[in-house]
């Protein structure tokens, strides 16, 4: 069997670092003729619910799902029917988060941050990759002015970010309230806002990761904030993202997310069916057997306290015992799933490669919910 001597991360990182990258055919970016995807309003489609959808969230009773081509879908009947919202950009949106029935944010490719004040009906762009590079440069200059040790490296990185343009996606967004929020993304991007997203400041220096690993998800349990990412990266903040500590995890592959298992326990999950549980804040980890070496892409804690994980072959795994053991839930139409959210009626709504899948929870489960 042939194995490609090829590592996506390493190659991408090398390319980012500039001169060693071979200039291929037609190399170099040239955004000329066509309008940039960031500036192109999303087109509407009667088939939008069948496109690749990556995340969903609750805005009160309403469900909001986001995905490729700037698609944002809204459902007011717990995921039975969906309609498309007006969105000012056509890039792939990766995550969505609401703090109230009205106010929410979505992030996506091109480093875009969108905000809505009307429960997802309309969106405005607050931030994007071009601006992000500017903020990084300003922050690096400020650091240099204060004579920080890492300032030179940060200046170089910021210059490169400016040069490369908005080619790095944001991968997760979380807001504590209407003002304070956090976004994370590829190559170690992390920004915070204190004014509802009008202005963003880079927090890259707080993680201090020279490798610039992708940050895939933010998970918050009470005062504890976790950020999971590439190569087993896991950061913890107990002070509202003012400072972070890196937690050692037993896995070297990517962690796509984390979910609270109750009683302060945490479950992290990622590539090739790797999932670990820690009951002591990350000091010790216990491997969870998920039966298949298949990537787990998302997880959630349901209203009844049970945990669900979804994977890229369309399995939905559920645990009743705080994440010690998982067993598969019957899914009528499996598709590579990218997210999971529980609707107000208790059913699961699963965005994925073939659009939205709705799994009504069995009567037994509903009873337990009460």
């Amino acid at each position: 069997m042939m194995k490609y001597a090829y590592r996506s991360l390493v190659l991408a990182a090398i390319c980012m670092l500039g001169p060693v990258c071979p200039a291929g055919a037609g190399g170099g970016t040239a955004a000329t003729a066509s309008q940039d995807l960031l500036d192109r309003p999303a087109e509407t489609s009667g088939r939008a619910a069948k496109y690749v959808l990556l995340a969903a969230a609750r805005a009160g009773r309403r469900l909001v799902a986001v995905g490729e081509q700037g698609i944002v879908l809204l459902s007011d009947d717990d995921g039975e029917r969906w309609r498309q919202a007006k969105v000012p950009t056509s890039v792939t949106l990766t995550k969505v988060c609401f703090v109230s029935p009205g106010r929410g944010w979505a992030v996506g490719h091109g480093g875009v941050v969108l905000a809505s004040r009307d429960g997802g009906e309309t969106w405005v762009r607050q931030f994007d990759g071009r601006e992000a590079a500017q903020r990084e440069l300003e922050a690096a200059k400020a650091a240099a002015a204060q004579g920080e040790a890492s300032a030179n490296r940060r200046l170089r990185e910021a210059a490169r970010l400016l040069d490369e343009g908005p080619d790095k996606p944001l991968l997760d967004v979380w807001f504590a309230d209407e003002n304070n929020g956090l976004v994370v993304g590829a190559y170690g991007a992390i920004f915070a806002t204190g004014d509802g997203g009008n202005s963003w400041r880079p927090l890259r220096h707080l993680l201090d990761d020279a490798k610039g690993r992708h940050l895939y998800s933010i998970h918050v349990a009470g005062r504890d904030l976790y950020i999971a990412g590439e190569q087993g990266a896991l950061y913890h903040s107990a002070d509202g993202a003012k400072s972070f500590t890196a937690i050692r995890t037993p896995y070297v592959g990517t962690l796509f997310g984390a979910v609270s298992a109750g009683d302060g326990a945490l479950v992290v999950f990622g590539l090739r069916g790797n999932a670990y549980r820690s009951g002591d804040g990350g000091a010790s980890w216990h491997k969870i057997d998920l039966a298949q070496p298949v990537t787990v892409s998302a997880g959630a804690r349901l209203a009844d306290g049970s945990l669900v994980l979804v994977d890229e072959t369309g399995r939905v795994l559920r645990s009743d015992d705080g994440g010690l053991r998982f067993s598969p839930v019957n899914v009528p139409q499996p598709s590579p799933f990218a997210g999971v959210v529980q609707a107000a009626d208790g059913s699961l709504v699963l965005p994925g490669a073939r659009g939205l899948t709705r799994v009504p929870l069995s009567t037994a489960l509903l009873e337990r919910n009460k």
């Binding site: 996506s8 291929g24 190399g27 792939t92 080619d167 992708h214 070297v252 590539l271 090739r272």
Partner: protein, 812 residues
């Protein structure tokens, strides 16, 4: 004879001695004064062409069925070398009937079939694809990066562990729904074919190919294995198989025509003579085709039927004329010459009209239709010699049986005495339409029908209206196989391919891919589009793959370096070696006209907005793309062809009648039939396509015969001073009865096609039968009704002039 009937333009000449051999036209003198030479020549020609006919081949080339001058097809042909395995691909699904495909026996059988197909002639081997071809690979993400290899591992040994490995590899190969059915109960072998074999330079013999495939099916199909085959080569092969049954229909048509003719004449001798001469015309045609380098294809195979049936119609007219003269006592040679004199021009004009009707089909830029036009025109030329010349000459030798002649005479005499038309209720009924009242009724009814028919015909669809291969019946083996493919595989058998030309090495440019993605999006919104694929779509999937399979990366990477990395490992179906041509595949639900129209519209709108010097979107390849181009050509040709065929008929009719009123009388009924035929197509859900395009031209060409025969005699009698009623009645007695006879025999003969396993032949049978019968009714009902208003007043005026000078005509 005491009564000099007006029918007998020529005197009764009982003995040759009384006949002036130098009378008649030059043609008549040359032919009839050298009868032996003509007959001998015909015999020699028949023997030679009969021998030649043995070399006739049945075939249907892919390129013959497409409009090679249409811009879409030009684009396709220009870029064909760069497009991998498109247009002519066999899909062979091997089904595991009892379990899944992850079974050692199954995979072993699949390998044998794969290896056997690999060696078939004309296979474009580098692009052949199945589980067993090395090009079928899987990729997977590990902590170290990407991993990949052939789906069936090199160390495959049929063990459970190996089979499990295959299963896992299939899961991550991205071939589910493409090469492997989603239910894991079948896999597909894709066999792209080249029209000419690269090694031998020979064209594919589709019939032979289809038989090979059937043998393969027989060899491997069992309780455990099912084989389903689709693809152009199989359709054509099945068509050619179906054609062999056409021989049966030919026999049936001959039998029906012979029986009806015998019933009419009760004369074995002349019946056989007419049948034989019509067959001679068919032999000449079949002999001339290979001599001139033509082949018979599933479309032109119907021409011999038409030639035969038309031959019967003209032969019957000649025979009828000779019989009437002989019955009156004229010597058979003289009778033959008189008949030749009376009817040669009408017959010649009618055959010319047929020939021109067919020749008009030459304007259509589709080779099979041109071949059909040439074939039919050759047939008409043969008929002029065999049925207008050879039949009278042979009749001059054989005469007709005395009993038949007597019967004809008796019938004629009783007709003459029967001045109140009591004997023939049908003729009497038809004669009603020469009166103003009934004529008015007929014309109003026809106008209503015409308007209604036209209104309905506006809904006429262009192209195919059924899924699957519309040439074959919906329940045919092929269409069941096709339904299997559609049910089990996401990639439908109907692919529309759009080509995107870029400067060299720029095919993977980010901006280009954005444009391609934008077009894809628009196409995806069409209800007939099931899926699309392109380098843009691949770039999104590859971005996911390059980022550990995380769907969050599902976007065309903005980094050109990343894109360049992607194309290094992208499959070659999506772009060419020079990286200056991208292919966008659009899988369609079916190839119905509406579906294709929508794709073409969307494409054209997009191309008009987005084509620029560096990046040009070109349509179209793929079977659906080619069909779309064919539809466009057929749609235009349908209008052009109808206009041209009517122009030709009008010109010929004017030459014959020298009266524009008569031309209107002859042509309007044909137009009514054409409109109704299109309405019938709407009702029967038959679209205008390569197969049905010729029907109207054929129907009009042959339909004008009736009008020519009826109107020639009617006009002659009118000019002799008869009333329209009397003139028309005479025409009915002389040529009208044969018009009815041939209308019915032709209708019956083509109606036999309804039983053809080939659907378009059945469609053509129904439509042609309809046209033949309606044209006959038009010639017998609407024609006199129109004549009542257009011809009768003029004739009456002329009569009044004459009667002022002469004694009143007793016939009035």
């Amino acid at each position: 004879m005491s009564i000099e009937t007006p029918l007998a333009e020529h005197p009764v000449i009982r003995s040759l001695a009384d006949f002036d051999r130098r009378s008649g036209s030059l043609a008549e003198r040359v032919l009839f004064n050298n009868r032996v030479a003509v007959v001998v020549l015909c015999v020699i020609v028949t023997v030679v062409l009969g021998y030649q006919a043995l070399g006739l081949r049945l075939n249907a080339g892919f390129e013959k069925m497409i409009p090679t001058k249409h811009p879409y097809i030009i684009n396709y042909l220009e870029n064909r070398g760069q497009l991998a395995g498109l247009g002519n691909t066999l899909r062979i699904a091997v089904e595991a009937k009892t379990g899944t495909v992850f079974d050692a026996d199954y995979l072993d059988t699949l390998r044998k079939i794969n290896d056997e197909l690999f060696l078939y002639p004309g296979v474009d081997r580098p692009y052949m694809k199945s589980l067993w071809t090395p090009a079928t690979r899987w990729t997977g993400v590990t902590e170290e990066g990407l991993d990949g290899g052939p789906v069936i591992p090199d160390d495959y040994d049929g063990s459970p562990a190996s089979l499990e490995q295959v299963r896992v590899n299939v899961e991550r190969s991205g071939e589910i729904g493409q090469l492997v059915a989603a239910n894991f109960r079948s896999t597909v072998i894709l066999v792209p074919l080249q029209e000419t074999d690269a090694e031998t330079g020979q064209r594919i013999d589709y019939h032979d190919y289809s038989q090979r495939l059937e043998r393969l099916r027989q060899q491997y199909e069992s309780d455990a294995i099912g084989i389903h085959i689709t693809g152009f080569a199989k359709v054509v092969g099945d068509l050619i198989d179906g054609l062999q049954q056409v021989l049966l229909f030919f026999a049936a048509a001959v039998a029906i025509c012979t029986t009806v003719l015998y019933w009419y004449t009760r004369c074995v001798r002349s019946t056989l003579l007419v049948v034989a001469c019509s067959c001679v015309a068919v032999v000449w045609l079949l002999g001339l085709l290979p001599t001139l380098g033509f082949e018979l294809d599933p479309y032109s195979v119907l021409v011999p039927f038409l030639v035969f049936a038309i031959g019967m119609s003209h032969g019957a007219q000649k025979m009828n004329g000779v019989m009437q003269d002989i019955g009156r006592g004229t010597h058979r040679l003289v009778a033959a010459r008189f008949t030749f004199r009376r009817l040669f021009l009408a017959g010649f004009t009618a055959l010319m009209a047929d020939g021109v009707g067919f020749a008009v089909l030459m304007v259509i830029d589709i080779q099979v239709i041109r071949d059909l036009a040439v074939t039919a025109s050759i047939g008409m030329a043969a008929l002029i010699l065999t049925n207008l010349v050879l039949i009278p000459i042979l009749l001059s030798y054989t005469g007709v049986s005395a009993a038949a002649a007597q019967r004809s005479l008796n019938a004629e005499r009783s007709d003459e005495r029967d001045t109140r038309y009591a004997k023939h209720r049908f003729w009497a009924f038809l004669d009603l339409f020469t009166g103003r009242r009934w004529a008015g009724v007929a014309i109003v009814a026809a106008a209503v029908l015409g308007v209604a028919g036209f209104a309905v015909s506006l809904q006429l669809k262009i192209g195919d209206t059924d899924p699957g291969a519309p040439e074959l019946r919906p329940n045919s083996r092929y269409n069941r196989d096709n339904a299997f493919m559609v049910a089990n595989y996401a990639a439908s058998s109907d692919t529309y391919v759009i080509m995107v030309k870029t400067p060299q090495f720029h095919c993977a440019h980010y901006d280009t891919l954005l444009e391609v993605a934008a077009l894809e999006w628009r196409l995806q919104q069409l209800p007939g589009v099931e899926a699309t694929n392109s380098l843009a779509a691949l770039a999104k999937r590859a971005a996911v793959g390059m980022n550990e399979g995380s769907l969050k990366w599902y976007e065309i990477p903005r980094s050109q370096d990343m894109l360049n990395t992607i194309i290094m490992r992208a499959p070659r179906e999506l772009f060419n070696q020079n990286c200056d041509l991208l292919t966008l595949y659009v899988s369609l639900k079916d190839h119905k006209a509406d579906t294709l129209d929508a794709v073409v519209q969307t494409f054209e709108t997009f191309a008009a907005q987005h084509n620029k010097a560096e990046v040009r979107f070109l349509s179209a390849a793929g079977n659906a793309g080619i069909e779309a181009a064919t539809n466009i050509v057929v749609k235009r040709a349908n209008v052009e062809m109808v206009l041209l065929v009517y122009l030709a008929v009008v010109v010929l009719a004017f030459i014959t009648f020298r009266s524009w009123r008569a031309v209107i009388c002859a042509v309007l009924p044909l137009m009514l039939t054409s409109a109704l035929c299109e309405a019938l197509m709407v009702y029967l859900n038959i679209g205008v396509k390569v197969a049905t395009l010729p029907v109207i031209a054929l129907g009009v060409g042959i339909g004008v015969d009736y009008a020519l025969y009826v109107l020639t005699v009617t006009l002659a009698r009118l000019r002799e001073g008869m009333t329209l009623s009397a003139a028309y009645y005479k025409a009915l007695l002389f040529t009208g009865r044969v018009v009815v006879l041939t209308g019915i025999t032709l209708g019956l003969a083509v109606a036999t096609w309804t039983f053809s396993p080939i659907k378009f032949q059945a469609d053509m049978g129904i439509l042609l039968a309809f046209m033949f019968v309606w044209n006959m009714l038009g010639a017998l009902i609407l024609l006199p009704a129109l004549a009542c208003f257009l011809l009768a007043p003029a004739a009456a005026a002329q009569r009044e002039e004459e009667s002022a000078l002469l004694v009143p005509n007793p016939a009035l």
